[in-house]
Symmetry: C2
């Protein structure tokens, strides 16, 4: 049971971009910071832009920044929006997969469990994942020394 790599990378991009705040971020620096491929990131950034999370410009002087405020991006809503497949069991689909579906309470059990999962994630916004006390270490880990230079 895993979220997709696409959702994982999307979360990383949004954390990076939110940390840089008003400064523009590029695919190159995000790829370098996390050690992931630019090609994967291009797709991720494009879709985050289409979905309204990022303002992104292509081209040589292109880059991106967060479209809204980190406190307005709910992590539960975001993950629901990004995950392409939330049919945690086959019977969440059209029910053609399992002959037992019309009389089986397993579907209800998994439905409730998935709801509890998202209820929990919905307690967090992107801002909650970037608390002031973590920011200096996050910036250092991502190689953004200029942001929090003393003075």
């Amino acid at each position: 049971m895993r979220i997709t790599r696409y959702t994982d990378y999307s979360l990383r991009v949004l954390l990076f971009v939110a940390l840089k705040d008003k400064q523009i971020s590029t695919i190159g620096e995000i790829a370098d910071a996390y050690g992931i491929s630019k090609n994967h990131l291009r797709k991720v950034v494009h879709e985050l832009s289409v979905k309204g999370y990022l303002m992104a410009n292509r081209g040589k002087n292109g880059g991106m920044y967060l479209k809204g405020r980190p406190e307005d991006i709910n992590i539960g809503v975001l993950v629901r929006d990004l995950e392409p497949d939330l049919e945690i069991v086959e019977c969440f689909g059209d029910g053609q997969g399992c002959v037992l579906t019309p009389a089986c309470d397993l579907k209800k059990a998994f439905h409730n469990a998935l709801q509890a999962f998202f209820d929990c994630l919905e307690k967090y916004t992107l801002a909650d994942l970037l608390p002031a006390e973590n920011r200096p270490q996050m910036v250092r880990l991502l190689g953004m020394p200029s942001l929090f230079s003393p003075g």
Copy 2:
């Protein structure tokens, strides 16, 4: 985000076997009832037997029945036991995947969400998924007419 087919099939096998109660079940009839391959089921039944959920005998007159009582098989504990990968995000692993892991609260958010998911599944036992009012329909859907014949 999905459970594996292996966990899915395991749940179906346990429901079938629990419905037949003291009557022995065979891989052939389970395969026929659900329309899934015997080869997949052999592996599933073998592992359920190794893990202590089933008593299974191989061979021409082989078959299986539930080792314990349906009310003692907790669905949350069962799914945790069966799922080979509960690293819902990469940072649940050895933390080598993402440079941000040491300072990132996303791991905590997903950890809490996964806990909420299993807390919910743990409210159900196998017996809860086989309530008396559903049994006649389940038996019919699985093609076990002899079990609940009138009189």
